[in-house]
Assembly symmetry: D2
Homo-oligomer: 263 residues x 4
């Protein structure tokens, strides 16, 4: 399968007001990965005195600690070349658990928004008789035919169980439900924050990586983004790990914009 | 403070029946750590054909993959010297978030049984005006005076919110609630599985590590175990990460015993 | 269909210890209803000074207020003739909502352990295309083939959602799930406390009444009891309304026994 | 205390579109009660063929069944005289449970959005040492000082536990939390739907009735409405019982307006 390179132009601006000084963990930069090359990148944190960079969850990407007093104004620009081989999932096999890399094991287990233990029986009943990639595709299809994409339908505490029942949500909810169903049949799955063209309304996007046939495979439960055109920011067990901003304190949104264009 | 070495003799036996072959992730061995030295150790997995060892969560300890067909019979014996300095927590300061090691950050975030986001307001109200170790001690005291230790009161899905309201549980519930309250005021906290004398009824034990003054400090929310006499098995975000057995399939308990004696 | 009378001999004994005086709402007596005739009945409340009797939820049966100081020792005996016509549900039609009696409407709505709103989409998907009694029978069949009867698997806070996912529980959990699924497709359903032979282990039993073809129809989601041999105690929206003892204060169980025999 | 009559002019308009015909239970009319007199009242249901009126929950007010095909357009106008004695709560005693009217008992028990069982320990700890009306006032004060009124912060499934932790919501959430805390200390409490001037943004309002000193006492946990100027529509165990529209089917809001003015 020929792999064509895709070039993305990304511009992100954040503008928040803080009632009192806070510590903010930010992860908005595209990760350095073999299948996505950063041609150029600038980060303007609005004159904040310091940003301390640390490795992000799972070693994918980097986070910055910011310490704004009253305003958080950030502009990030990047030009990225994506050269990602995207295999059809249906024919990929699931690895025996015993041969998984040690750091994939945590992506089999329950997490804050992905209570795998609770949804285990339903997962097995719906998809447990299918093999590997075919099961993942069937789970995607179920989500596609049962969920409605409704901005505002979910909130910060919405779990995959909530979404399984309410049948509406946004990209993060779609991702949580897919992750939970896939882990529920014994396949590692994790959540991916990303920039992708075609996301409507434009915003940070959430996709899923599933471990099949010896590697992580990127899939979008919402169907809005093409994994071959998606720039990965970070990965995690669920949304708790990949927030673009985790604010220790409080902050009010003034304005926020994400633009992702195919060059 | 003089640190006296403590010697523990540990014997663990597990006996489970499996209706069909399963893949089992086991973590019952004492971790190799600077403050606990393994004098001798044997693991008998009852003639199972193979055990694949992989690094455990956070790099503390090791897990084994077992693939039993119909029976899981395990005997683990170890003799351990603990030489752990246990500082009084009350005077330890909390590090600024920005100087935390990168791999401590995940222990600030919500996890399956520790929904920090939900309990954040209550945590701040109860303990947010205290500093570092004093806040952790106050949280321990609150738990000690409000919770009753009731075997059978909780179940596999019990979260720290459930325990916060029901006010009863076992070591794992005590640990989850302490972790959630401590993360809720911006201090990293994680769950520790361990062997400790004095646990009643004798069993695997769950304690908590909090990050204070540049290091992980071990504390027992139940008050049953002395951190200076506790042999750490593994660590994790919550019980999901530190199960002594995670069974992919199903299994029935025949018999299980944990003995931990001061030598 | 000939309706044969069934005679039941019932003996119930309760023995609780109270740390401090409490107010206790008790509902253990067989309700006076056209299809169950009380031949004889005695209630011994162990010398407690007074019992105030009030109408029970929905006007079915009676409750007694007891005010024990330190011990609650009760013995109830009754001999009952049941003459209940039990139609096959499958052919019974569902009434239009607009012709329901006013006091049936609350049994369409969500309640503490029957969160109809949450399970609505799944209910409609599974049973919404079937008519009336056929839908109720299909819901019973689904429960029968998916749930395991496991004493101790549930607890006081277990809801129908929990049971829908865990797929195990006792009679109360079976009843809650059936009620929730049936309300979810727009048919009134309520929980019934009762005495029935064949319950194993012997205990108070919980069944369900569904409103079909102009009347309440009794059905047992567990399949253990025969509605034609069941003596109704009380009805309610869910278990919150039909507890045999609701204790305002605290109490410890010494001993409790329920015996129900066909005469 | 002299009781002055208050006159209210109420105009409510509802405009919903329905994708397919539905059955709708509507409760928007002011209830006939001794302390609120209906001077004039008109209900225009937009030419819908029929409205069947039935008694509402607890016998307070009336509901109408509507059967719209594609549009639900309603206009309700009323002029009401309120002559309600509003005693200061602080000095009112709580009745012994044993003397409560039988139909008050259900308002002691857990319901869908008021899981009294879960919040019982916290209720007792915070307010259990206060008597009757003083405890209710203290619970109101706690809510007033801990919750923020934030339209959109809650959703259809939000319970009093959610609000207890999130500390934000709208009138229905304030009411649910107050009801849950008050029931938690053994005082009957129920939710009231009403028209009240001063509600901002203008809408149907939710208040609370608590049973103190032999009667139901009206109180507004939000502090926005004056019970002496409030026209009661209906009462219930929680919001499930007092929805102004319960739609069996689906509907989309075009427009809705509630105007309540002091004459």
């Amino acid at each position: 399968m020929p792999v064509t390179s895709q070039r993305l132009n990304i511009v992100t601006t954040l503008d928040y007001a803080l009632p009192v000084p806070a510590q903010v963990l930010m992860q908005i930069g595209v990760a350095r990965l073999p299948d996505q090359r950063i041609l150029g990148e600038t980060l303007d944190i609005g004159g904040l005195p310091v940003a301390i960079h640390v490795a992000a969850h799972g070693g994918v990407g980097e986070r910055a600690w910011l310490t704004p007093d009253s305003a958080l104004q950030v502009r990030y620009e990047a030009q990225i070349d994506i050269t990602r081989e995207t295999l059809p999932l249906a024919n990929l096999f699931a690895d025996a658990l015993t041969v998984l890399p040690a750091d994939a094991i945590e992506y089999l287990l329950p997490s804050r928004y992905c209570p795998v233990d609770t949804l285990h029986a339903a997962s097995m009943e719906m998809f447990g008789n299918l093999a590997g990639g075919a099961a993942v595709e069937a789970a995607c299809d179920w989500i596609g035919s049962h969920l409605s994409y409704v901005p505002g339908a979910s909130h910060g505490g919405t779990t995959a169980i909530d979404t399984f029942h309410s049948r509406e949500g946004v990209c993060r909810d779609y991702a949580h439900l897919l992750v939970t169903l896939v882990r529920g049949i014994g396949i590692p799955a994790r959540v991916v924050s990303a920039y992708a063209p075609g996301v409507n309304p434009p915003d940070f996007h959430a996709l899923v990586q599933v471990w099949l046939a010896g590697g992580w495979r990127l899939v979008d439960a919402t169907g809005m983004a093409d994994p071959a055109q998606t720039a990965i920011i970070g990965i995690g067990r669920d949304a708790a790990d990949i927030s673009f901003l985790t604010i220790f304190g409080s902050a009010f949104l003034n304005e926020q914009a994400v633009s992702v264009e195919l060059a």
